[in-house]
Amino acid sequence: MRIVVCMKRVPDTESVIRIAPDGGAVDTADLNYIINPYDEYAIEAALQMKDADDSVQVLLLTVGESAAESTIRKGLAMGADEAVLLQVPKDLSDPLGTARLLAEWLKANPADLVLAGKQGVDFDHGAVPGMVAELLGWAGASSVCALACEASHATVEREVEGGRERVRLPLPCVISADKGLNEPRYASLKGIMGAKKKPLAVVDCAAQSGALGSLEAPPARPAGRVVGQGAAAATELARLLKEEARVL
């Protein structure tokens, strides 16, 4: 079985995001990049299948700029077998452009199962996995919190309002992972050393992407207000929450 995990690099979730002076991009100068956390669940799910069955091959597939290589190596260090970087001049923020590149590659290089995180924590589009499924004409399931695979089908569970939905999909299919699917492993030091020697192919791609319009930082939050002190303040706080903030 061949599993392709779509992963991307995102700025460390604790980064302070600054907008470049021209307002058209994020200033990436001081950013550290990590594997998109939702993609880590997808990688872990694939690796657990590989742990259970030696014949499972796990390939990481990324659309991104050349600097994404070091983040991809991290995924290889976790235990994936090989990786392909669909290299574009700049990281894309366009889900359809990304999905087209991924789907095109997957048409030429078939997989039994495609896994991905449910969304990137940078732009939070949450759109790519569904688009890839649609472009390939495959079945898809989003935001899964449980996954089991058989020879010809995958069974997944999704958290829905008030319960869990179980879905059975024919393979090949595209499944996006939600938090709770598993506990992603750390890369072992041996894994990090071994990752240097694993194949990482770079495919030059023309970006088929719409240009980003402009970015704005969210407005600064106004200063808080001290309502009072001690027990007496509780009544006033409750009144304000009810009458002014209207949250109670």
Partner: protein, 387 residues
């Protein structure tokens, strides 16, 4: 709260990609898995042993060794592991220093193939824990005067004596014990549970509380002939091990200093007095400037030490230079940061006080600050001030 590791001169850019990857992964592990336990571990005088297996799975133990399931990393990467662990706690780093530098190293370097095969895989996985017995109740800086002795009884050795201040002593599955056999210092592997071997705990420490410290007592302990380390005789055996561990400490101390600096900086940026952030006051800024410089200088020493060690050119006096400087630096930084946290600095809710107390031990163990001073004095003048 996120942690930003001070790297003012971009030393990280001197690292190989996989070395940096190791540092970042260990940093993440410390933040996610160790730090949530750190305060409780220190307060309750307990090493979180549940983490030993995880450390083994990560491949932290014996990381520079090739084979026996070890990662085969560079010495620079090993230094970075020490730095990141000590960012969490000196006790956590001590656990690694002992397991890697003082137990796995001598078994790998001086042990027989049978000893290597018996112990290295289990020690690497964290399934077995080791300790190292050199210091004695009456002999610390002068280990050559040790009184622990082994007698050759034909089919076995008989071990008598005591060792003091032994990290992991009470919990170790195997103790690397240095004792005199016919007047010559030799290493012995003594297994837990061997009759006559006991390891009572040291209690009431105010430092390295998240680390087990014990006495080792040997009363007519019969150990098999196969337990002797065949590959080394004399003090160069234990001192070779200490060079490994001291090298790691020179790196580790930086992690403790970075943690204190980061905490004090955040605190002073956020806390307002007289209508301004504390960090805006000149008295505080001078402290930041001094600490920034001291930490950055220590980082330079550590990275150069790593280069020399990776080239096989690192000498013991050079290790002494960095251990002495970097630990004294970290202790001073911790004290300064303690004052910068005001009253909160004495609370274990903040990390700095814990680092400060830990570093008092680090200053004294693995060659006291004063002994390293004398090593450097000899290196500078060519004259040994002690016999």
């Amino acid at each position: 709260m996120s942690y930003k590791a001070l790297d003012f001169l971009s030393y990280d850019s001197l690292l190989r990609e996989e070395e940096l990857a190791v540092a970042l992964e260990v940093r993440r592990w410390v933040g996610e898995r160790f730090l949530p336990l750190a305060m409780e571990a220190f307060e309750t005088d307990r090493f979180p042993f549940e983490l030993a297996r995880e450390m083994g799975e990560l491949g932290l133990f014996g990381a520079t060794i090739e084979g026996w399931g070890c990662a085969g990393l560079s010495h620079t990467a090993y230094g970075l592991i020490n730095r990141e662990l000590e960012r969490g706690d000196s006790g956590l780093r001590s656990f690694l220093s002992v397991q890697s530098g003082l137990v796995m190293y001598p078994i790998w370097r001086y042990g027989s193939r049978e000893q290597q095969d018996q112990w290295l895989p289990r020690l690497a996985k964290g399934e077995a824990i080791g300790c190292f017995g050199l210091t004695e109740p009456d002999h610390g800086s002068d280990p050559g005067a040790m009184v622990t002795r082994a007698e050759d009884k034909g089919d076995h050795f008989l071990l008598n004596g005591a060792k003091m201040w032994i990290t992991n002593g009470s919990v170790a599955d195997v103790a690397v014990v240095w004792a005199k056999l016919e007047g010559v210092v030799r290493g012995f592997l003594v297994e837990k549970g061997t009759p006559g071997f006991t390891a009572p705990l040291h209690r009431h420490k105010f430092s390295l509380r998240a680390s087990v410290t014990s006495e080792l007592v040997f009363e007519n302990v019969r150990i098999p002939r196969s337990a002797i380390l065949p590959g080394v005789e004399g003090l160069k055996g234990p001192l070779g091990c200490l060079n490994q561990a001291r090298y790691g400490i020179a790196w580790g101390a930086i992690g403790a200093a970075q943690a204190c600096f980061d905490e004090a900086l955040r605190y002073q940026q956020q806390r307002t007095q007289f209508g301004r952030p504390l960090a805006s006051f000149q008295l505080q800024q001078e402290k930041f400037a001094d600490m920034l410089t001291a930490i950055t200088a220590a980082q330079g020493m550590a990275i150069r030490l790593g280069q020399l060690k990776d080239e096989g050119k690192l000498g013991p006096a050079q290790i002494s230079l960095a251990k002495r400087n970097n630990v004294a630096m970290a202790l001073q930084v911790a004290r300064t940061c303690r004052t910068m946290l005001g009253a909160n600095g004495v609370s274990l809710e903040y990390q700095t006080g814990r680092h400060l107390l830990n570093l008092e031990s680090v200053y004294t163990y693995e060659g006291t600050h004063d002994i390293h001073t004398l090593v450097l004095g000899q290196a500078a003048t060519g004259i040994a001030s002690y016999a």
